[in-house]
């Protein structure tokens, strides 16, 4: 059994056990007068542990355990905290503007986390099927190299084919000008690049031998550029979900702090 599988199995069993225990305790102690306070504190504790994972990543020099272990805890605790959230709400929809906003923040943070988990499990496999490993930050440079080569092949001093030059100007230059077809790559559609390659193939049929070699090389470059775009689209998705997850986490913490003040300030005890 691999370490990942071992962690997954252990984590899943722990999550199931904790969830069953939480639901059982909920059924048993739901009638307690201050039950919502208790589930609220449990939820806050879960949110605290989830949040300090980000702090842990910023402090790699401290001996706080492996980041991989922290990530596993973050994932499984994220699921459990979502259950705690539902228990805290007593499985009902919230009322009032503030509580609705707070609930939406939690839903967005946890929902983006689930999306991120899904992406991190699915997208790397898809990336592995389209070429080797490409560092996201190097993609612009690699794209520039391909663009320069295609430009040289089409418009260079030794390029004497007006047909290829025109085709490059009209069709390939926009294609190489930047990342293209991100959404289509995300949904695994290759229709644009297939269309472009088909046009190149049409061009090749009536070309001279020299032109044919250049067109075949251009087709290869187009495929590489498309592969780069594919990597960029998927790797961007792997990074962009954090733009929702992390910023809204801090918003959630701010709203949670106010929530605590309000519930204690307005509760029966404080009157």
């Amino acid at each position: 059994m691999t370490r990942f599988r071992r962690q997954f199995t252990f984590g899943s069993l722990a999550l199931i056990a904790a969830s069953v225990a939480a639901l059982w305790l909920n059924g048993k102690f739901n009638a307690l007068p201050d039950y919502a306070f208790l589930t609220g504190w449990a939820l806050l504790a879960g949110m605290f542990v989830l949040t300090i994972y980000n702090v842990r990543k910023k402090l790699p020099f401290l001996p706080l355990g492996k980041s991989e272990t922290w990530l596993q805890i973050h994932i499984f605790l994220g699921f459990f905290t979502t259950l705690l959230f539902l228990i805290h709400l007593n499985f009902r929809l919230p009322h009032g503007w503030f509580e609705i906003a707070l609930a939406w923040l939690f839903v967005l943070v946890s929902g983006s986390g689930f999306v991120g988990l899904f992406f991190s499990r699915i997208l790397p496999r898809r990336l592995a099927t389209r070429g080797g490993e490409v560092i996201f930050e190097k993609i612009p440079a690699l794209r520039h190299v391909l663009k320069a080569e295609a430009e040289t092949l089409s418009l260079g001093t030794d390029a004497k084919s007006p047909v290829i030059a025109e085709f490059y100007t009209k069709r390939l230059a926009p294609f190489f000008s930047g990342p293209k077809n991100s959404w289509l790559h995300f949904v695994e559609s290759r229709r644009p690049v297939s269309a472009l390659l088909a046009e190149l193939e049409d061009l090749r049929r009536f070309a001279t031998d020299d032109e044919r070699q250049r067109i075949e090389r251009l087709a290869a470059i187009v495929r590489q550029k498309d592969g780069l775009d594919y990597h960029r689209a998927l790797q961007l998705a792997l990074k962009l979900w954090l733009f929702v997850h992390i910023p809204l986490t801090y918003g959630l913490l701010i709203f949670t702090a106010l929530h605590i003040v309000l519930v204690f300030g307005f509760s029966g005890g404080a009157r």
């Binding site: 930050e137 440079a141 992390i246 309000l262 300030g265 307005f266 404080a270 009157r271």
Partner: protein, 542 residues
């Protein structure tokens, strides 16, 4: 150590520095400088070299020398010692980490700004932090007027100390809450339904907690009445009632049953409450006790003699003057609210058939009803009554008419005392038997004697004494009921009057009859509060 070595294809020249906040502006062209931007995103490129000044022996100023890697350039340094080949500065590009950090700061700033804006404006604050719509009872113009009368705050502050204050008092109230913010032990051990400080706010308008039982433990108002649930206060659920009635230990100390039993001999109404509830009750259809008049086989103590079966199905019952057949609704009319039935009255409901006509030949004369003395006086003034009748009908020989009538009565009943005795005590009918409540008679049924319907006793003075009929307006007085809500049900479906020949029959439905509809299976509301009221009626707002 081997893990820390760079991979074989590591290109130190094009090192991307993905963890840094800024990347070289030329990186997208594959020409990132080796130095890279500084921490604040400024390009650090200057020139291809940094010339050094060398002063040979005998020279005073010295000369600048090129230090370019790979060999000196042709032009060499400029006279001021700067490199002649400056590198064009780039515009460093922030990495995704920087954008993410900016997004985080923006969300934090937006959250703080929104909260400060909303909390700083009292009307917005109250709407924003309210966990739900306040009921109409505790908001709006009526509540505002009442709050003014009672010198209360008209907003959240009417109930919550922190309700109409700014952020600082809110925090102060939160920090001084009881149980405290971190007092988890007290939070975990809080007793259910225990009154809290917020109940004091309720008592400013509501005069005390009048519980349905004097020795009931004090219960927090909010345990049953949840606010912020909508424009109508949330209906009290069975869970609130089950706090006591679902708890065997609490019910074991209940004294309600004893109290009702002690009233048994005083009021017939009290006989007809539910059975003493020392047992647990959770739901009406499941474990609510059977009504007490059934379990204890109680009888209606009313002394009036009435036969429902005869009046509803008897072949001798005549049609009403309008030709309609006598039915339940003729005697049992709903009150103005439609909830309960008006009391049955002789003049309105009985006299139409039972006219108290004592002389078969003179239907114009009828005995008064309701007072023994009046009846006795009327009988003793019969000559005068007949004389008045003769005058009214303009009879030529009035005295002869009176004599003839009195002679007829004497021949039928004997003396006046005999007639009076018979009127009060006889259950036999006057006149032809067939005329008593039959369809064959052209007139209404004749008067058979007070004892036909009433219990007649002889007082110590020898005068007749009629036991006053007791017809309670309500039977199950501990429960709410409205006939108006049950108009789609035939009377006989709940009240088995067709088979009741005796007044003592209590024609109320058994619990099962109610539960046929008022149960989860029946689909009609079946909560405790559907029939019962927790508070005494005097628990009203000041």
């Amino acid at each position: 150590m081997s893990e820390q070595l760079p991979s074989p294809d590591f290109d130190a020249h094009n090192y991307a520095r993905p963890n840094q906040n800024w990347i070289c502006g030329h990186a997208c062209e594959g020409n990132a400088c080796r130095q890279g931007p500084d921490a604040k995103g400024r390009c650090r490129a200057t020139a291809e070299c940094k010339p050094v000044q060398k002063t040979k022996p005998g020279e005073t100023k010295g000369r600048w020398h090129c230090t370019r890697p790979g060999g000196e350039c042709e032009s060499g340094p400029l006279p001021d010692g700067s490199c002649c080949r400056p590198i064009a500065k780039c515009s460093p590009v922030p990495t995704l980490r920087v954008w993410r950090g900016r997004a985080t700061l923006a969300v934090i700033a937006a959250s703080c700004a929104v909260l400060l804006l909303l909390l700083g404006n009292p009307p917005w604050r109250n709407n924003f932090i309210s966990p739900g719509i306040v009921s109409d009872s505790h908001s709006g113009a009526t509540f505002a007027a009442r709050a003014e009368t009672n010198h209360l705050n008209q907003n959240c502050g009417a109930c919550h100390v922190a309700g109409d204050s700014g952020p600082n008092p809110m925090i102060h109230a939160a920090l001084h809450a009881d149980p405290g913010i971190l007092d988890l032990k007290k939070l975990a051990n809080a007793k259910p339904a225990e009154p809290t400080a917020i109940d004091e706010s309720c008592l400013k308008c509501h005069a005390g907690r009048n519980f349905h039982q004097t020795d009931a433990p004090p219960i927090s108002c909010s345990f049953c009445h949840a606010e912020h649930q909508g424009r109508m206060m949330a209906a009290t659920t069975d869970a609130s009632c089950n706090f006591c009635h679902g708890d065997a230990a609490k019910m074991a100390h209940n004294s309600v049953g004893d109290e009702v039993t002690s009233l048994k001999s005083k009021q017939s109404q009290s006989l007809l409450t539910s059975a003493p509830t020392k047992s647990e009750i959770h739901h009406f259809a499941d474990d609510h006790p059977q009504f007490r008049f059934i379990t204890e086989k109680l009888r209606d103590p009313d002394t009036l003699k009435f036969n429902h079966t005869l009046h509803l199905t008897g072949p001798t019952i005549p049609n009403l003057p309008g030709g309609e057949k006598l039915d339940c609704m003729f005697c049992h009319q709903p009150d103005a609210a439609g909830a309960f039935m008006k009391p049955v009255a002789f003049e309105k409901n009985c006299r139409v058939c039972h006219s108290l006509q004592f002389d078969p030949e003179t239907p114009q004369l009828m005995l008064p009803h309701g007072n023994v003395d009046f009846v006795s006086a009327y009988l003793r003034s019969l000559p005068k009554q007949y004389l008045n009748l003769a005058a009214t009908e303009n009879l030529a020989d009035a005295n002869g008419f009176v004599e003839k009538k009195l002679a007829g009565l004497r021949s039928q009943f004997g003396t006046g005392e005999d007639l009076e005795r018979r009127v009060f005590f006889s259950t036999a009918t006057f006149g032809p038997e067939a005329q008593i409540g039959t369809l064959s008679g052209a007139t209404r049924s004749l008067f058979p004697g007070c004892a036909y319907c009433h219990e007649i006793k002889t007082a110590a003075s020898g005068l007749p004494q009629i036991t006053k009929p007791v017809m309670p307006e309500r039977w199950l007085v501990k429960a709410k009921f409205s006939h108006a809500k049950h108009l789609n049900i035939a009377c006989a479906q709940c009240h088995d009057a067709v088979h009741s020949k005796d007044t003592a029959d209590i024609l109320l439905p058994a619990k099962e009859t109610c539960a046929a509809c008022h149960s989860p299976h029946g689909g009609v509301a079946n909560t405790c509060a559907e029939c019962h009221t927790y508070h005494q009626p005097q628990f009203v707002a000041k």
